[in-house]
């Protein structure tokens, strides 16, 4: 792509329900291109859904970006969900099954960690949340 390219193509702005669906579709598509199996694609789509929905629910708006990654002959998909919302005061609590300030199941973050191979969450109150996850293709 040439152009006044202010953004990497594999980014999805997240502001509402429809964006969650769009992010899921982009992720699924990329996962298929990388060669993930269908069940793996579904798991990845679920993880994207969780991260995107958290942005809509708790931070109003944010961004999800996707990148194919390569390491030691392994291929994978890296997903970064980023917002500048209120942030998470107690990350340990947020990562606990069943903890929710939104009156929902409280399984999104811990579930995403179980689905993905790598999981990194960074946040400070008032500074938003950045979650970076990687799924490696099984060999």
């Amino acid at each position: 792509m040439t152009g006044l390219d202010l953004a990497a193509p594999q980014m999805q702005r997240i502001e509402r329900d429809g964006d969650v669906v769009a992010a899921r579709q982009i992720g699924r598509h990329l996962a298929a291109e990388i060669g993930f199996s269908r069940p793996e694609q579904a798991l990845i789509a679920t993880a994207i859904s969780e991260l995107a929905r958290n942005i809509v629910s708790y931070a109003e708006r944010g961004m999800i970006s996707f990148a194919a990654v390569d390491a030691e002959r392994r291929q994978g998909l890296r997903i970064t969900a980023e917002d500048r919302g209120p942030g998470i005061a107690d990350i340990h609590a947020a990562m606990t099954d069943g903890f929710s300030t939104g009156n929902s199941l409280g399984l999104g973050l811990p579930g995403t960690q179980r689905i993905m191979d790598e999981f990194d969450i960074r946040s400070a109150p008032g500074e938003g949340v950045t979650v970076t996850v990687v799924k490696w293709k099984s060999r």
């Binding site: 702005r13 329900d17 269908r38 969780e50």
Partner: protein, 302 residues
Amino acid sequence: MDDIIASSGGRHGPPGGQIADQLRWFDITETDRRQAEALAVTADELAEQIIEDFYAHLLSFDDARRHFRSDEQIARVKKGQLKYFRELVTAALDEDYVRNRRQIGQIHERSGVTPTLYVGAYAYYLHRLGHRVMDRMQDDPGRALALLLSLIKIAHFDMAQALETYVEAREATIEQREREMSELPTPVLQLRDGLLLIPVVGTLDSYRARSLTVKLLEGIRDHRARAVVLDITGVAAVDSAVANHLIQTMTAARLMGASSVLTGLSAEVAQALVKIGVTGEALRTAGDLQHGIEMAERMLEI
């Protein structure tokens, strides 16, 4: 001019029209193209410095900075921009060119680069270049101005291409959203006295999940149902929010006196639910539709 404006809303008006019409609308002539091209060497020489300045400017804004993840990305984008500005003064303003420019608008719309950011970036470039060209051509300011005015025309034409797509992409997004919401109505089928079947197809986002709850509860009331089979064979992806909606829907059904069974979970959906930690206890499920209906019939007998 009045005529042109009056006709611009029509289907064949300049904004979305043929390239030749658009060029006429922007009053871009052969002379303009030649004059812009005369800036090619200068623009080439200056581009790198201007782009460096531009990024320093850009990165001093939080909103803009969040679009850049790494130094490599910035380097890549800078390189793309060199090419872009080179093309601006030399490119044939043809269909390939327009197609390329329109793709950029689409990418920007999707990733949330606002028209303000885009137009502002442009203005910055033109302004910087303008000053330097005037400096270099001090002995002939009249010609410098003429060249720059031609470039500005072409730049506006170029900008219009991307902005046009912003609007189109926006509209397409809205349209798609409306379609998703209205299509695939959730039918409520009465299998026999007191027994309902609700097949769910497509994406179960929050909106549809809410309307599913309403449909189910209305169905129970209208048909005096005591058992409901909720079949999600047609649902490709779930997450904890969808699971939560299903649990709440089934709980609400119970409060209205109807038991419910969930059927049609694909292996993929089931695996995803297990991974995120939704337990079988939270949702009463049956292996397939047939079993689900049998289970519901037994519930009727109780």
